[in-house]
Amino acid sequence: MKRSGFQMMSPYVYPFYIMTHPKDGFQEMKMNKKSSLSVTILIICAYTLVDMLYRKMVDYDLNIYDAKEVSAVRVMVITVATFFVITAANWCWCTLLDGKGKYQEIFYVVACSMLPTLMMNVITIVLSYFFAAADLIFLQYLAIVAKAWTLLLMGVGLAEIHDYSAKKTLFSMFLTVVGIVIILFLAMLLMSLFQQLYLFVVTVVLELKYL
């Protein structure tokens, strides 16, 4: 392989190499089984942290969230749950569709492809102090570029680790979205069930208390 500086590269730097060379990067990762769980977890943690900061610290006039109402727990749960739901949905479909990727690799790919969004969030936080609402469109362009980049990385990465053709990758990504919807639906059902259970317990406790 031509660019095999990879062998010497630290696993913590490697995601940045992948960002600019997705095809080679993911291929080498797959071949050399270089997907690192610690890096994945680190990226997710960083993403959560940046997301929290983003909600809290983007300057007041450009912040679409209410900085006073940001709940760290909620952001954490949402971010982590998002990662798990995406990877779980993809894993479910791709095991059925002869995908070669392992769960850990899918996780690694999804985490790595989140890097542009993460970095753009950091940039947006800094830039928001210099920009006013009139320049918001510029920041929005940056955000769109970051999201497109993320999607591209995810597509290429999933194609590589599952050994899919481009068409099959698109199909599997569409199915992943369907899977996410199904999982969310089930989660909602479960949630309401838990709520009913909770109410039941509360009622029983109250009944006992005022017996």
């Binding site: 006039d61 909620r74 749960v77 749950a81 609402a133 009139a134 838990f194």
Partner: protein
């Protein structure tokens, strides 16, 4: 995996439980205002109880379901005591002047029917206009009871809906043109001239474009006439509840809040168009406070400040001409300053507000407090663009009520015009004004850029030079490396 999922669900459930419930918006005996997050927060009173006018204080037999009230520019009060079929004329010191209980027309006695609903006093001709609702007519008389005109239903095909003509409220403009609200007519006020000629409708309530309406509209374009006639959904404009003639040639109109009403409070220009920006009046309804306001009356003063009366909650809301809520007071109850069935509201030249209660049979006079006066003063200055002059007022208001978000915005605007951008940003933030914050930030950076232009320009030039020279430097450094290597080789060999 399953265990982890359950754990996550548990955490999110806990996160959901921790959310505080929305603060209750309605507090009957305490004044409040809405802060920058649209939450009800306590506030000092803008109006306080001054006195009460009732049959006892006037020394006459008691009122009986009085329906309307009018205060003229000389602060003379005309009370339509519908149950007793009379009009009571009270002077500016709240003392009885005259009771008009017998009307004569062409030397014959004329009596009002029980339940007359509207009264208006026209100063140009010194005549009282009374909407004699159940007799289906409007009578015009002087202040002694001598009737000069009786207007019955005007001749027009547009009013032939088979229902009786029942005028409820009316106002009369400078030219003697009457704007009459009648029961069962939802196409606005009737414009009737002094010859009893019907001139047209005025100020029909706009219909709000809801999703339901759009869907219904779509269906109707598909279905045929027979099917359409069977459709149960109807989109009729809401009937206007009351009118107020303001001296600046505008007519204020109120209507109950319904699903289809675009704005329950409108200020109509002579062509009948609404000139107010706001469409939200009354308490913001939430899951705890679901009572829909029924606005029954409105009054305004020269500064464009208008006050509306809500029958449902007994509350009185005061707004400035930009539809900013200035104060809320009143409520349902037996105490002084609370109402049982408030039906009419008027203001006098001294800024007092008079509220007629049809059940308590009293007129309650509420006077403005120091706080209310300050807010009015500050808002007048602010709406005229005199931000710096209003600064002192706003600080005074903040000393009395730190919850008043508009005060922060007012101060911020003042600082912005004074060039104190950093302070302006802070106050805009506290007042919850994002546009203002942005404006101040832009101004701040523009100033920074202007003051340090030389430095910025120098940095830019240096960066550009570096970029231009980049290739050269690269080549040079490569060359140096190569020569170094050669030298080293030379040394080694």
């Amino acid at each position: 995996m399953r265990r982890l999922f359950a754990l996550l669900l548990g955490i999110s459930l806990l996160a959901g439980l921790g959310q505080p419930a929305n603060a209750q918006a309605a507090q009957i005996d305490k004044a409040y205002t809405y802060n920058e997050d649209d939450k009800a927060v306590p506030s000092p009173n803008s109006y306080q109880f001054k006195t009460i006018i009732n049959a006892q204080s006037l020394g006459i037999d008691s009122f009986s379901s009085a329906q309307d009230l009018f205060v003229d520019s000389q602060d003379q009060i005309y009370l339509l005591d519908s149950g007793k079929k009379r009009v009571i004329w009270i002077d500016e010191n709240y003392e009885l002047v005259h009771i008009i209980d017998s009307f004569t027309w062409k030397d014959e006695p004329l009596t009002l029917a029980d339940g007359a609903q509207g009264i208006f006093y026209r100063e140009a001709t010194q005549s009282l206009y009374i909407a004699d609702t159940n007799n289906n007519r409007i009578i015009v008389c002087d202040r002694t009871g001598a009737v000069s005109q009786v207007y019955t239903k005007p001749e027009t095909a547009l009013l032939d809906n088979g229902l009786p003509y029942a005028p409820t409220k009316l106002v009369v403009d400078e030219l003697g043109l009457m704007y009459v609200l009648t029961l069962n007519v939802n196409t606005g006020a009737l414009m009737i001239d002094s010859e009893n000629q019907f001139l047209g409708f005025y100020g029909v309530n706009a219909i709000k474009e809801t999703l339901e309406l759009k869907i219904e509209h779509m269906w109707r374009s598909i279905m045929n006439t027979t099917q359409n006639s069977q459709s149960e959904v109807s989109f009729q404009p809401t009937e206007l509840a009351n009118l107020y003639w303001s001296d600046d040639f505008f007519i204020y109109a109120v209507s109950p809040v319904t699903d289809t009403v675009e704005s329950p409070v409108v200020k109509l220009n002579p062509v009948g168009e609404n000139v107010l920006d706001g469409t939200e009046f009354g308490d913001s309804p939430d899951e705890e406070y679901e009572d829909v306001p029924i606005f029954t009356d409105i009054t305004a003063d020269a500064g464009g400040v208008f006050t509306v009366l809500d029958l449902t909650s007994g509350k009185i809301y005061q707004y400035d001409e930009e539809c900013t809520l200035m104060t809320v007071f009143g409520g349902l109850g037996y105490q002084k300053g609370l109402y049982q069935l408030p039906v009419a509201i008027e203001s006098n030249s001294g800024g007092d507000i008079l509220v007629l209660d049809a059940k308590k049979n009293t007129i309650t006079v509420m006077e403005q407090t120091y706080y209310g006066e300050k807010i009015r003063e500050a808002l007048f200055l602010y709406n005229d663009g005199l931000y710096e002059e209003a600064l002192e007022c706003w600080f005074e208001i903040l000393r009395m009520n730190a919850n008043y978000s508009l005060a922060y915005v007012g101060i911020a605007e003042a600082y912005l015009s004074m060039g104190e951008y950093r302070l302006a940003m802070d106050y805009f933030y506290q007042g919850g004004d994002k546009d203002g914050y942005s404006e101040a930030k832009t101004a701040m950076w523009r100033e920074v850029l202007r003051n340090s232009f030389a430095f910025v320009a120098a940095v830019v030039v240096v960066i550009m030079l570096l970029i231009l020279c980049y290739d050269g430097i690269k080549k040079y450094s490569k060359l140096t490396v190569q020569t170094l290597k050669k030298k080293r080789k030379g040394v080694e060999s």
